[in-house]
């Protein structure tokens, strides 16, 4: 056991102003350390140093991104804000979806931990985002997992991908949350730096919204859930070996692994326990413990409240012996929550925790004044203004510069790449594309995820968006999609991010839901690279301006920087998530074209010769250059309105969005989902290759019952949405038949489309 005398107290710190501290090892810059000294009027104690260093890290303080993220708030109009109950600055955004329901959703990254230890990294990524949603007072309802890996056939991908997928499945399945969608993208730029983003969506009654505030002097702070251990304390272990007295005999720790192990069972019980606490009205404020652990929870709760806070750190239940205050404050042990509770409710609170066998401990209370004071066996080890820890970290306006190679990249257009033209070549290209890692069936991955649990999943993989029912009586539900094509963003970060937004928006709209809100996870390289900062700035502006054009707000998000191998950054990957609302899930539009012979297949939107950043250029030529497809937000909005109207009036029996791989790939998927067939007759005079493989935005393949065709096409014509009748459903054909290309049987298509991932990862 560490003896009390060895602990660095405030009193001692004040008396030993010149004691050298390992702030650089903890990631603080000289001036940042000096600022802490200025704030405190003395040197920080070990515990304070641990707190400031972790809370002022890029991950927690958004020090490089803050100046740019402000643009989201500046561009959100009162009208866009109308349905937003909580937005940027809260744990997760909350949207009013009608009938007294509020829905909250958010994406977060767990990229670096998942590279080191794929299973646990991904698993704890899911655990973390679920607690964020829970902390809003909502019941978590579903998860999604946008993923990026290095080349599909790279040996390291064989290590990382199966582990990540097993971890997401292992945690989510055990938690009882259906996985309703996600992404799997392969690109060499992610080889040393995979992206593991996790999204959670939850729902609550509007009046149950809980915000992370420590209000009401005298209210108790209760820590509950798992015990606190040495996991994830990473760099802070240097403090333990470098005690204030510099004693050689100090209980130095070897550098600890910063990997955390998840315990989904504990989290499941914690969820049920929290929901019961909310139901009973026993919670004044609540905060999840994620990155930065107690440092974050205590300083954020106190800083958002109306008083100060006192915490007795020695009361925290521990899993390891001899932990120091600094270690306890920085531990990232999973499955913990922190609540603010009225003194009169503490007994009732504890009874609920007992029933669920959840460890709960009163560790402090809300106090008068505005200091966060933390004691250790009666001695003060932290005495700080909480806002300086949680919200007044350093802010950097990093240099921004358009990369010098950007012009060359843009000039390297794909127009001269040899294109297939004979029927055989076109047929081969359809199959080659369908089998390519980015377009092939994701079944190998999604089959490891439970999408049935809770019984509310209406659409899941391979639908364009996941959809869940939130109210069994009325049938009200939500749809969510996440998207990003990093190649488009690389070619043009502003337009590329808008394309990501447009695609997620369209994916929601094709289900018949009305898009209402946006979240994001901005994965970029190093903010110290001006080129990366330029990408970031452009991406934020593109997303914000796109949202204004669509009239829906960004309600929250997450930034992940330093995604690079050596000095090579990943493709800029601003993953955009869009949430949509549907008043009755029974009118959802399915993705497969169905088995009704004679139903008309219509292509909505316009096809142009657009191959910059396309999957075809990537798969066939390994080419990246030119401009991404043009984006037109007004068109996307019109398309969505028409789809929703089509769904309401029963005019559309299926819809599938066109994206990577173009029309050919959309047809392959739409046929295979229902094991059906169709006959396609391209319009006279089109360039078949362009028509089949271009990735022009704003297009959707719809199936329209024969009887509805005139009504539906009239509506499109009247509202100015271009449409083309391209063929009919023909289930008996059991093949994709394209005039000028030939026929591909369903069996061959299926084998081609589904064989790729099993061959690589089984």
């Amino acid at each position: 056991m560490t003896s009390i005398q060895q602990i660095d107290t405030v009193e001692h710190a004040a008396a030993t102003r010149d004691h050298p501290q390992p702030y650089r090892e903890l990631g603080l810059k000289d001036d940042e350390y000096q600022r802490i000294r200025d704030i405190l009027g003395r040197r920080p104690t070990d515990a304070e140093l641990a707190m400031y260093s972790v809370m002022w890290s890029e991950h927690c303080s958004y020090k490089s991104s803050k100046v740019h993220l402000r643009y989201f708030g500046e561009t959100t109009t009162p009208q866009m804000r109308e349905k937003m109950l909580a937005g940027i600055g809260e744990n997760a955004g909350v949207v009013d979806v009608g009938d007294g329901w509020a829905v909250t959703f958010k994406v977060e990254s767990h990229n670096h931990p998942s590279y080191v230890e794929p299973y646990q990294g991904a698993a704890t990524g899911v655990g973390g985002i679920v607690r964020d949603i829970l902390a809003m007072g909502a019941r978590p309802l579903a998860v999604m997992d946008p993923l990026r890996f290095g080349p599909a056939d790279a040996p390291d991908t064989r290590r990382v991908l199966p582990g990540v997928v097993a971890g997401i499945g292992g945690y989510g399945n055990c938690l009882g949350l259906p996985n309703i969608g996600g992404e799997v993208v392969f690109d060499p730029s992610y080889a040393g730096n995979p992206l593991v983003n996790a999204l959670c969506v939850g729902a609550m009654r509007v009046e149950d919204l809980h915000l992370a505030h420590a209000t009401g002097v005298g209210n108790k702070i209760i820590l509950f859930g798992a015990r606190t251990g040495l996991d994830g304390i990473g760099g802070v272990s240097v403090l333990a070996s470098d005690t204030f007295s510099g004693e050689e005999t100090g209980p130095g720790r070897k550098k600890l692994p910063s990997v955390q192990v998840g315990d989904p069972f504990t989290e499941k019980v914690l969820i049920e326990c929290c929901l019961e606490l909310f139901r009973e009205g026993l919670v004044v404020g609540i905060q999840d413990l994620g990155g930065a652990g107690l440092s974050c929870a205590t300083s954020e709760l106190a800083s958002a409240g109306d008083g100060g806070m006192r915490v007795e750190l020695d009361r925290v239940p521990l899993r390891a012996e001899g932990m120091t205050p600094a270690e306890i404050l920085s531990s990232e042990s999973q499955e913990r929550m922190c609540a603010v509770v009225r003194p009169s409710d503490v007994d009732a609170f504890m009874r609920v925790c007992d029933r669920w066998e959840v460890t709960a401990t009163e560790i402090g209370e809300v106090t008068e004044g505005d200091r966060l004071v933390i004691t250790w066996h009666g001695e003060t080890v932290v005495d700080v203004p909480p806002r300086t820890v949680a919200h007044q970290g350093p802010v950097y306006r990093r240099p921004v510069q358009r990369p010098t190679d950007q012009d060359a990249l843009r000039a390297n257009i794909p127009d001269a790449l040899p294109r297939p033209s004979t029927p055989d070549d076109l047929r081969d290209t359809v199959l080659r594309m369908a089998a390519s890692p980015n377009l092939c069936s994701r079944r190998w991955v999604t089959q490891q995820y439970d999408h049935y649990v809770r019984g509310g999943t209406v659409l899941a993989q391979p639908a364009d968006a996941g959809m869940i029912r939130i109210d069994e009586t009325t049938g009200r539900g939500v749809a969510v999609s996440t998207d990003c094509n990093g190649r488009y963003v690389r070619l043009d970060p502003y337009a590329g991010t808008q394309l990501a937004l447009a695609e997620a928006y369209r994916n929601v709209a094709v289900t018949g839901a009305t898009p209402v809100a946006v979240t994001n996870c901005l994965n970029f390289g190093s903010p110290e690279d001006p080129g990366v900062m330029w990408q970031f700035e452009q991406a934020v502006r593109g997303l914000a301006d796109g949202c204004v054009a669509l009239g829906i707000p960004v309600t929250g998000g997450n930034v992940s920087f330093y995604n690079q191998t050596g000095s090579t950054a990943i493709l800029p990957t601003p993953v955009v998530g869009v949430l949509g609302v549907i008043d009755d899930v029974r009118r959802r539009i399915p993705t497969g074209i169905g088995g009704q012979a004679g139903d008309a297949l219509l292509l909505l939107g316009e096809t142009r010769d657009e191959f910059g950043g396309s999957e075809w250029a990537h798969v066939v030529h390994g080419h990246l250059g030119g401009r991404p497809p043009a984006v037109d937000m007004a068109r996307e909005k019109l398309l969505a309105e028409i789809l929703v109207a089509g769904s309401r009036d029963g005019m559309v029996s299926a819809a599938h969005d066109l994206s990577e791989g173009g029309l050919a790939q959309a047809l392959v998927e739409a046929v295979l989902i229902d094991e059906t067939g169709c006959r396609i007759a391209p319009p006279d005079g089109v360039d078949l290759f362009v028509w089949l493989f271009s990735e022009s935005a704003g297009r959707v393949l719809v199936t329209v019952p024969r009887t509805e065709e005139p009504r539906f096409t009239d509506m499109c014509t009247m509202r100015g949405l271009p449409w083309t009748r391209i063929g009919v459903v023909d289930p008996d054909a059991r093949a994709l038949e394209i005039q000028g290309v030939g026929s591909i049987g369903v069996a061959e298509l299926r084998e081609t489309w589904e064989g790729t991932l099993p061959a690589l990862f089984d």
Binding site: V116, V261, S333
Partner: protein
């Protein structure tokens, strides 16, 4: 032919939800007095005599155990 056992255990500082679940359940089943449980893996290998200790160590380290979160011990046993 030799028999080799590789024991792989979660590192002491790493959370062991499995062992914890067992430890919590025991008193409920009426078994008192077990103060701590950790759960790991045991591998039993049959190997050709040509396989040397260095190779075994490598197999354990790179494949059977995950050095980030686990400790391991390799030993040859009597058949």
């Amino acid at each position: 032919m030799a028999r080799v056992v590789v024991d792989v255990m979660p590192k002491p500082e790493i959370l062991d939800p499995q062992g914890q679940a067992v430890a919590k359940a025991l008193p409920r089943l009426g078994f008192e007095g077990v103060t701590s449980v950790r759960q790991g893996k045991r591998f039993e290998l049959e190997v050709d005599d040509a396989v040397d200790d260095a190779t075994l160590a490598k197999i354990a380290e790179t494949f059977l155990a995950n050095p980030v979160i686990e400790d391991w011990v390799v030993r040859r046993v009597e058949p």
